[in-house]
């Protein structure tokens, strides 16, 4: 791996880490506009993070080292995921370290630890949140994997870099399987990022929350890391969706002029994606937790259907 590649990789990583709260702020702002409310300002997530970092950490008496380590672990995993997903350029050094399956594994690792941390203090809400999060996880993860498989089958590779190059830099072809995969991916990312209709990031109503219930015991800098990791997750899923379904404008092989061009394209795509997410959240209602398996089961079936369509029509 050369120095320029490493520098490009570092840029991509830092961009994700620094821009992730901005994306969350943008989605919140769009949603507030759509709801005809006055928005809290684009930089509000940064202010929240700064506030939380200043605050004292209050730990439960029986919190174990696992509880204290988990926020950093989850943050590290999601930062690595952000480095693996090609957002600015393909062919970066870390792209070879993990392919699409490893990326799904990485996201699962982060979920595994945050769920364990949710169970660590042993409160009613913590375990409830962990259970629900894992329930969402066991249905969403295979669906995500099937979406990535569909893309892998089209491009004959499970390496994300090669997938993006194959989908984006060839002549324009419409793949019917990718349409199914796109719907499935949208449903999965709504669920995985704790968005309406599966979860509501804005509520702390006890009986309906999933993600928030799990991280209820966190405070201070730990909570800041968890929140940051949550925005990173949204960023990673957005970049993944953009790379799979709108793979245009991504630089190849880490060349610098391409990356400089790719940056505004990425920002524009993210802004559009964030607005679309806010719109989806606006027009749908939060469903009961017992309906979530149906929702995710549909996503899973659609993803499998996408693979079947590929094998039948495009094979």
């Amino acid at each position: 791996m050369n120095l320029a590649g490493a520098a490009a990789q570092f840029t991509e990583l830092m961009l994700a880490v620094l821009l992730a709260p901005l994306l969350t702020g943008w989605v919140n702002q769009c949603r507030a506009w759509l709801q005809n409310k006055s928005a809290p300002g684009l930089l509000q997530p940064y202010r929240v993070l700064a506030k939380l970092f200043q605050k004292e950490v209050v730990l439960a008496h029986n919190a174990s080292p696992l509880f204290r380590a988990a926020p950093y672990l989850v943050f590290g995993c999601l930062a690595l995921a952000a480095a693996i997903v090609p957002s600015l350029s393909t062919g970066l050094p870390l792209n070879a370290a993990a392919d699409a399956i490893a990326l799904v594994g990485l996201l699962a690792l982060a979920r595994f630890f945050i769920a364990l941390a949710g169970m660590d203090v042993g409160t009613a809400f913590g375990t409830l949140g962990a259970r629900r999060e894992m329930m969402v996880g066991f249905l969403a993860e295979p669906a995500l994997l099937m979406v990535l498989f569909t893309a892998s089958l089209i491009s004959h590779s499970s390496s994300l870099s090669t997938i993006v190059e194959a989908l984006g830099h060839r002549e324009f072809v419409i793949y019917p399987s990718m349409a199914f995969a796109g719907v499935a991916f949208t449903m999965v990312s709504l669920a995985e990022n704790a968005r309406i209709p599966v979860d509501n990031p804005a509520t702390h109503l006890e009986l309906t929350m999933i993600h928030e219930a799990m991280v209820l015991e966190y405070s201070g800098r730990h909570l800041a890391m968890v929140e940051w990791a949550a925005s990173l997750k949204l960023f990673v899923y957005s970049c993944m969706g953009l790379a799979l379904f709108f793979p245009f404008g991504i630089a190849q092989g880490g060349d610098w002029p391409g990356i400089v061009l790719a940056l505004p394209v990425l920002l524009a795509k993210l802004a559009a994606g964030g607005a679309a997410l806010a719109l989806i959240e606006m027009v749908s209602a939060k469903m009961r937790i017992f309906r979530a398996p149906e929702f995710l089961g549909t996503a899973f079936l659609l993803a499998v259907l996408a693979m079947l369509v590929h094998v039948l029509l495009e094979g």
Binding site: A102, A124, F125, S158
Partner: protein, 661 residues
């Protein structure tokens, strides 16, 4: 090499016999014999490691019947499984020397004898080179493990579990015997050499395959012959459950591979479809049932069914590719299969041993009465965490590598000449993905309920960490799990002789360099656990140090917040039943659910719900009822009076005389 392996097996038997010198002494067995057994285990692993790259070596033993001597042979496949046996046995024996203490039913000397004979018989199964020797070793293995399972024979349910185990083991053994009968095809030559040379007609070959699948499947615990696993594993002492789940199930996999790939050598692609279907059914069934278990060893037993299912699915894929003559892909699938065997052996034995330590410290197997043990038993808890991450198939540990390889094999599939099979492959891949995701769910349940949270029982405050022997055993198995996860290219290179032998190809992944695993070519897929772990660790460290550097490190301890509800108690946490509820709801048709909800006016409300295995009601109970009815018919003859029996003999004699005349 074969001599060394046989001597090591003999050493195990000798150690076992030494146990009879002082059958009641725990100190002798615990401090001398088990550690020595562990040393032999290391030796076996070492011998097998050399033999893996060596030419096959064979020997005819002067044992057995006149004119029917025992044949033994050590080739790459045997050597691989022998290495697995040795490595696991080393860790489990060290653990056992601290674990098997007083008040465990049978005297320690006898347990020591059975334990070492069990180890030796597994080694002999792996090196046997004729059907006769194989069956003798196989039955020794079944019997010695039966005695180990029932070593605490005072409890009726343990005796019952042992009976179920031995029953299904023998149904399997009959099937294997018939399979060898089909394989020798009337020549009377029961050596594997002779069977290899034969070209069976398609019908006989298929019959032999189906018999092998059923016979070895009964031992491996594939659906629907799995019912003994969740009974026998909890009944046995933990080191024995570890060995049974980690190694004995693998000897069954070895048998399947040996018969199908080596002895039959008859590539029929649709055998692969059968194995794939049965494997995936077992995998999904196992993990769904694991999610609703409330006994930690039963949970692990069901998880073994899942893992064996995945192994069988990989095996089916191997057969499928071999049947279509796709050598490289067959090599990839076979590598994934064998790799998963190795991984499962180590992480499952680690988890079973950890449950053993928990059982000793708390005398509690039910998940509903555990909790918070990470504070009382940190060593066990952290090593169990390695096992849980590994078994959940999460990177960068070993469980992920084999799942990755298996999924890669699926990804390369859609060029098969059979259209229908092509369509099945996405469905099969989805089933594998679902299984992997569910295993994460199950493992969060297992770990979170046993080790995290508040103790659900007051007695848990007295729990103590494991002793030094147990810690050493756990540490060894955990270290191997980490090493297998971080250095996959070493393992893949070690598996290459086997894949070359049976598929003609190897996938040692030279193309990607030593840092990367790239099974076919780096552009298609690559994975580098070292880089992965390195960068992740770096990112975590940087995040932690940055937060340390820029902000205060103040932390205050207080009561748990929990939305401001002050009357928290341990009973408000999720129970094992509660955590399994979503799976029970989503996969409701898979269970036979019985229960009753209390009425709202009930003064002392009781909630009861059981989720049972449908196969008991579909298969086992009808068969048992049929057997009972048949015996009822025979009972008519049985009068219990000697004069009646004499009359039967007389009548028989008369009839025979009539015919003979």
């Amino acid at each position: 090499m074969i001599d060394a392996a046989l001597l090591a097996a003999l050493a195990w038997i000798a150690l076992g016999c030494c146990g009879l010198v002082a059958p009641r002494s725990h100190a002798f067995a615990g401090r001398v014999l088990y550690p020595a057994g562990a040393a032999v285990g290391v030796l076996v692993a070492g011998i097998a490691g050399f033999a893996l790259f060596d030419e096959p070596s064979a020997r005819v033993l002067p044992l057995g019947l006149p004119d029917l001597p025992f044949h033994a042979r050590l080739d790459a496949l045997s050597a691989f499984f022998l290495a697995l046996l040795g490595g696991v046995a080393a860790g489990v024996s060290v653990f056992a020397s601290g674990y098997l203490r007083a008040d465990q039913g049978s005297p320690p000397g006898l347990v020591c004898l059975c334990y070492h004979v069990f180890l030796a018989s597994m080694a002999l199964v792996l090196v046997a080179d004729d059907a006769y020797f194989f069956m003798v070793a196989w039955e020794t293995m079944a019997l010695s493990s039966f005695f180990l399972v029932t070593s605490d024979h005072r409890h009726a349910e343990i005796r019952r579990a042992g009976y179920l185990y031995i029953l299904i083991a023998h149904i399997g053994a009959i099937s294997i015997l018939l399979c060898f009968g089909a394989l020798q095809s009337g020549t009377g030559d029961y050596t594997f050499e002779g069977m290899r040379a034969l070209q069976l007609p398609a019908g006989w070959a298929t019959l032999a395959f189906v018999l092998a699948l059923a016979g070895f499947g009964a031992k491996a615990g594939i659906v629907p012959l799995h019912v003994w696993l969740p009974e026998a594993h909890p009944a046995a002492p933990s080191p024995v459950s570890a060995l049974m789940s980690a190694v004995m199930l693998k000897t069954a996999v070895y048998g399947m591979l040996r018969v199908t790939l080596d002895l039959l050598a008859f590539p029929v692609w649709w055998w692969g479809v059968i194995a794939l279907a049965v494997g995936l059914a077992s995998a999904l069934f196992g993990i769904i049932f694991a999610a609703v278990q409330t006994d930690m060893k039963r949970l692990l037993a069901y998880s073994s069914i899942e893992n064996i299912g995945l192994i069988l699915a990989g095996f089916g894929l191997t057969l499928l590719f071999r049947g279509f003559g796709m050598g490289t892909l067959a090599a990839l699938a076979l590598t994934a299969t064998l790799y998963h065997c190795l991984n499962h052996a180590f992480f499952k034995s680690l988890l079973f041993l950890a449950t053993g330590s928990v059982l000793h410290a708390t005398s509690e197997r039910s998940l509903g009465r555990l909790g918070g043990l990470i504070h009382r038993m940190p060593w066990v808890a952290w090593s169990a965490l390695i096992g849980t991450v590994a078994i959940a198939g999460l990177p960068p540990l070993n469980g992920f590598v084999s799942e990755w390889l298996l999924l890669q094999a699926f990804l390369f599939t859609p060029n098969l000449p059979q259209g229908y099979v092509n369509m099945l492959v996405p469905v099969a891949a989805a089933a594998v993905a679902l299984t992997a995701a569910l295993s994460g769910y199950v493992m969060v349940k297992f770990y979170g309920i046993v080790f995290l949270g508040q103790p659900r029982d007051a007695a848990l405050a007295q729990a103590h960490d494991a002793g030094p022997w147990e810690k050493t055993g756990l540490a060894w198995l955990g270290a191997v799990c980490v090493a297998l996860g971080l250095f996959p290219h070493v393992v893949i290179r070690a598996l290459e002789p086997i894949t070359r032998q049976f598929t003609g190809y190897g996938i040692s992944g030279e193309a990607g360099g030593w840092l990367f695993v790239a099974p076919i070519e780096p552009e298609r897929a690559s994975y580098s656990p070292l880089l992965f772990l390195g960068v992740a660790t770096l990112l975590i460290l940087v995040a932690w140090l940055a937060v340390r550097a820029f902000y205060h490190g103040r932390a205050r301890r207080a009561n748990a917040w929990d939305c401001g509800f002050p009357w928290q108690s341990a009973r408000m946490q999720d129970t094992a039943e509660g955590f399994g509820q979503p799976v029970k709801v989503v996969f409701q048709p898979a269970f036979r659910i019985e229960g009753e909800a209390p009425s709202p006016r009930d003064r002392r409300p009781r909630y009861r719900e059981t989720a049972e295995d449908r196969f008991w009601y579909w298969l086992y109970l009808p068969v048992a009822r049929l057997a009972e009815r048949m015996t009822a018919l025979v009972t008519v003859l049985q009068r219990g009076r000697i004069s009646v029996y004499l009359m039967y003999s007389f009548a028989t004699l008369l009839v025979l005389l009539f015919f003979v005349r």
